[in-house]
């Protein structure tokens, strides 16, 4: 038997990693080179990238096709408002609190929706989100159906306007980078090996000792926690919340699924490509209104038919390449 060693990264992935790091530093420094409007746009891009990475972890790896992740975005928003209004907390400090609460709330939700399989699971997650929305509309303390705004004084506590924007930007940047790193290190770990196996074949995974139920629960709770935190921060930037905006299936689920599907489901890079493409399309076509949405739908269908693994899948099917190497290579 020849001597063999196992490596995780390749020369190409190391170079790509360094380039990606440079790009990351550049984006992180955006407050120093971007104007106020651009900074808001980049913040929004970071939100969507983080949401897409979480949905990809759920659907692309754990096979949990949820169409109800907007439940957690809205939950995060309302938790943040509650912390600020009733506990007098700083809006940014309410984010980790929202994360923990989101994780705790997701456990009984999982207990419920995990009983449903396939399409029924998807419908179940959507129903849960709807229940969340209706509950929020019933609570008069958070404005009922018409919602409420963050008092100006609370925002003033976060500093003067430019400082405040920078603070919010860095929080968004940290959340987004954190979400992607979470997925990356998770996939490189033992859990990741199991998740990748589950992605490819559940029956074979369980026959080889992979505890599918436990791993799915873990992923569901982790995705819920992060999604709730992102939701909390999204509504810090929006300053206003209402049940329809907080639990919008279009904004927080449909667009996110679009991003992951066109970018490439079941890869870390896919959501990144997808988010960039989504915002490019939006910048150029959003003025078209309903036609813009029809173009998005047509594109999604076209890409699903022509390249089921998305644009990233199309790229790597030619070149054996990844920016985030999570696999194992045998070298002799």
């Amino acid at each position: 038997m020849q001597h063999a060693t196992i490596t995780r990264s390749t020369q190409a992935s190391r170079i790509a990693g360094i380039l990606a790091l440079c790009f990351l530093v550049y984006i992180g420094a955006a407050p120093w080179w971007a104007g106020s409007a651009d900074l808001r746009l980049i913040t929004e891009i970071l939100f969507y990238l983080a949401l897409a990475s979480m949905w990809n972890l759920l659907a692309g790896y754990a096979g949990l096709i949820s169409v109800g992740q907007h439940a957690y975005v809205g939950l995060g928003g309302y938790l943040m408002f509650s912390c600020v209004l009733f506990l007098g907390m700083n809006p940014l400090w309410s984010i980790p609190v929202a994360g923990v609460a989101g994780a705790l709330i997701s456990i009984p939700v999982a207990w419920l929706v995990f009983r449903l399989k396939g399409p029924y699971f998807a419908i179940g997650t959507w129903v849960v989100a709807e229940v969340f929305r209706l509950s929020a509309a019933q609570m008069s303390s958070v404005g009922g159906g018409s919602g409420l705004s963050i008092p100006v004084a609370v925002m003033r506590d976060l500093g003067r306007k430019p400082d405040r924007e920078m603070l919010i930007y860095f929080t968004a940047f940290a959340l987004c980078v954190g979400a992607i790193l979470l997925v990356y290190f998770l996939l490189r770990s033992r859990v990741g090996l199991a998740l990748t196996a589950i992605r490819d074949n559940e029956v074979a995974s369980s026959s080889l000792g992979v505890k599918i139920g436990r791993i799915k629960l873990f992923v569901y709770v982790a995705a819920a926690a992060v999604t709730t935190m992102i939701g909390a921060l999204i509504f810090v930037t929006k300053l206003r919340i209402s049940p329809d905006a907080a639990f919008s299936v279009n904004d927080w689920t449909v667009f996110v699924i679009f991003i992951v599907v066109i970018g490439g489901i079941g890869t870390i890079e896919g959501p990144i490509i997808g988010t960039l493409l989504f915002f490019l399309l939006r910048e150029f076509l959003a003025d078209l209104g309903a036609i813009y949405l029809m173009i998005l739908g047509a594109m999604a269908i076209g890409i699903m038919l022509a390249a089921p693994k998305g644009l990233w899948g199309l790229l790597v099917s030619r070149y054996d390449f990844s920016i985030f190497p999570v696999g194992y290579r045998v070298r002799r």
Partner: protein
């Protein structure tokens, strides 16, 4: 010592009874061959042993424990591993990674990376280590099925039709691998239509038809029994 004990298993899909009053016990260190015509219920029997399918009635005992309702992953960790008749590779993972899954989550996982390398060499898949399983030929997929199962370090190995389509020399090398694995103390049950391959290693044969155990015993006696003759004559005539 009895390693596997099936007691009065029954399983139906709608009106179709696929396993009927099936009892069988397998001793530690045995190498049992299972024969039977297409659709006899052989694979379904494996599914009930591994936990992929739960029987409607009856009990499965493994290594002194009742495992009838236990899920497949737990049974694998107790020491049951299988190959699938229709290969179930992890298509987006390399050959090495496929084997690593078995080594990591199976019965013993002291040093999974090393264990996976060893199994890969032993089963002759080392030259395809970094190839995606989705790009393998059917024959290689079948070899991968066996390699992955071995990586889980089973006490009981279930092989479902892995010799079909092999050339003579490939078949000889497969038989050698099976003998080697058996010599390390692994108990094996092997479903196979390639009768001469099965006869050359099995110590005992079990014949299944219409979900029932038709006969069992040492290979010579079973092959010459009137039951087997009638099944295979029946097939020839059809």
């Amino acid at each position: 010592m009895t390693l596997l004990d099936l007691q009065d298993l029954q399983k139906s899909y709608g009106a179709l009874a696929v396993t009927q009053n099936f009892s069988m016990s397998v001793e530690q260190g045995d190498l049992v061959g299972i024969l039977g015509p297409n659709g006899a219920g052989k694979t379904t029997l494996f599914n009930q042993i591994t936990g992929t399918v739960k029987p409607d009635h009856g009990e499965v005992w493994f290594d002194g424990e009742m495992v009838t309702q236990m899920d497949a992953s737990k049974r694998c960790q107790m020491g049951i591993a299988r190959s699938f008749q229709v290969p179930h590779p992890f298509v987006g993972m390399t050959v090495y990674e496929n084997i690593l899954v078995g080594a990591t989550f199976g019965r013993s996982s002291f040093d999974p990376r090393k264990q996976a390398l060893e199994i890969m060499d032993k089963t002759g898949m080392d030259d395809k280590a970094n190839q995606l399983a989705g790009s393998l030929t059917l024959l290689d997929r079948k070899r991968l099925e066996m390699a992955r199962a071995l990586a889980a370090d089973p006490k009981l190995l279930l092989l479902d039709e892995i010799a079909g389509g092999l050339t003579d020399s490939e078949c000889v090398s497969l038989l050698n691998t099976i003998r080697e694995v058996h010599e390390t103390g692994v108990t094996i049950i092997w479903i196979e239509h390639v009768v001469h391959a099965l006869m050359s290693v099995a110590k005992r044969l079990v014949v299944v038809d219409f979900g029932r155990k038709v006969t069992e015993g040492d290979p010579e006696t079973v092959m010459n029994s009137p039951e087997v003759k009638s099944i295979y004559m029946g097939e020839d005539a059809a």
